[in-house]
Symmetry: C2
Subunit: 332 residues, 2 copies
């Protein structure tokens, strides 16, 4: 069962925190564009607005939460530095946040992580500590490093300041497109989903906020419907950003209270959606980033005649990997 990091403040997160994060992030992140595609509108019979966080700095929304969290540390904590463990987008987010704020960042990454991600994280000036995932538990390594060096852990989702930062995606989208009827948000650990649900609740109270998970990693969907925290260990899905085993102590209550529904999509539907976004919208989307679109295009969420927002969370996928996926799932 999950245990909360010890330094998580036990305070509710509200829209006020999202709005404060938006001010903090104003000159730091891109206000990413919202794209539409008539062929997709025609297929769904609706008005679909894609919020393109794949165009965000570092190629994903994670910089929002990472920066918002690091920027609010005490001067002493900033002097000591931060640490994160991630093989994905959170690594680059914390590395960049550290560089922008003049805070040393240590990122714990598996030695078999793609070279391009190791390089990118170092490129943002972070110290990367590699470990052998066969012999090392990264949490233990991270905890040891944090203690030895007095570093503050920046968790990938389960922290109020991370949630508030990710919520600025929804805040921006609701300002860019008024009167959304439905908002589809991918869900791993629930940081993006809970933050966006807070924002939608403020700007468009009648908007139905739906979290989308891969079928194999359906813990949050089952947690949402049962009201009890469910877990999935190491789910087998192409959506590498949604392989988190459970919602967090901060995000689970927020998802329960502010999301309206949760659905899952198959990996096949996910890869089809990813391909369709590439082909029809000319945007590079990583598998996890296509979860919301997949729910809509696959019919998991009815959309006809609605005004729909879809968060495209990131675009960090290697072209060879994308090609492999398109071939494996026979979409071309």
């Amino acid at each position: 069962m999950p245990t909360a990091p010890t330094d998580v403040p036990d305070l509710p997160v509200t829209y006020r925190d999202v709005a404060a994060a938006a001010e903090r992030l104003h000159d730091v992140v891109h206000e990413t564009p919202v794209l539409t595609a008539r062929t997709i509108d025609a297929q769904v019979g609706a008005e679909v607005h894609f919020k393109c966080e794949n165009f965000q700095r570092t190629g994903a929304f994670k910089i929002r939460g990472g920066y918002n969290a690091v920027s609010q540390l005490s001067p002493e904590a900033k002097d000591r530095g931060v640490i994160a463990y991630s093989s994905g987008n959170h690594a680059q987010a914390v590395a960049l946040a550290g560089r922008l704020l003049g805070v040393d960042a240590t990122i714990v990454m598996p030695e078999n992580a793609p070279q391009v991600k190791l390089d990118a994280t170092r490129g943002y000036g972070a110290e990367v500590v590699e470990y052998d995932p066969e012999t090392t538990v990264r949490e233990e390594l991270g905890r040891r490093l944090a203690e030895e060096r007095g570093l503050t852990l920046v968790p990938p989702y389960d922290h109020p300041n991370v949630v508030a930062g990710q919520g600025t995606v929804g805040d921006e989208l609701c300002r860019q497109v008024e009167g959304l009827d439905v908002l589809l948000v991918c869900c791993g650990g629930g940081g993006l989903l809970s933050g966006c649900a807070l924002a939608a609740g403020h700007h468009a109270p009648d908007c139905t906020v739906v979290g989308v998970e891969p079928e194999a990693g359906d813990d949050a969907t089952r947690s949402f419907h049962s009201g009890e925290l469910q877990t999935v260990e190491d789910p087998d899905t192409v959506a590498d950003g949604a392989r988190t085993p459970y919602l967090g102590d901060v995000t689970f209550p927020l998802v329960l209270e502010h999301a309206d529904d949760m659905v899952t999509v198959s990996d096949a539907a996910l890869v089809r959606a990813m391909h369709r976004l590439w082909e029809r919208m000319k945007i590079v989307v990583e598998p996890t980033g296509a979860l919301g679109a997949a729910a809509l295009l696959d019919g998991a969420v009815p959309g006809r005649d609605r005004r729909i927002g879809v968060v495209v969370s990131g675009g960090n996928v290697d072209l060879p990997r994308a090609t492999e996926l398109f071939e494996e799932y026979d979409v071309a």
Copy 2:
């Protein structure tokens, strides 16, 4: 040597025509977004604004000129229908323009054109006439069909109304980003380049407008520098949209008068630029669409400390083809 289609009005094209086209196109085409990327700005040491016509309807700028031309035909000509020959973006542009305006469109395409392009063109409601490129000269087939059926030819670039339509790309960009110092525009037959040069001349008279061609298809560059029309038959370049053999009777004088310079880039530089746009900006760009970016990233056009506009003209490339190119040119 080129011969002008018989129905080309012998009138100069001015910014006024571009502005009129912009009004005509207002509710028809997307105002495409302008994207920036800090890593690219840092590399170039400049402020670079990418005008993303790969997000345009049909995946390329061509719909602008196609629609502008078809919409201004006489009611009689509209009743009889239009014809175009193209294996590329102009085919879909004229097909869609026809559908939007209720004008029958016949598109002459080689039978070995990619199935996806044949399908897309038919999908816009056009009649596709396939021919065997080994045994048939498409111009002859097109002329015969046009005569038999009384169809009006919509040329891909060498027509004042096509030029004016393509110029709306530059018009939009200059309104979205004020005070451009440099504007880089890819050049095949010169329709986009001359139209954009007219627009930049109006909005930003001090802006240096540079046309960019592939090395192997350097006819316009040599024409520009010599003042005499030069031709290249069937150039061997990956930039399939810039394989046109010469500038036209309409576009050559416009390029001479309104463009400030022309440069070429190698196919290797082109594929590198295309990859960089995919990787860093998460946008799908076809080879021809990366010409402007290649000139900048490869140093063919100095950019340091300037405010630079780059037209990304289209995104219609199959993923397997892109993968093949990236492998062939060893970028990954």
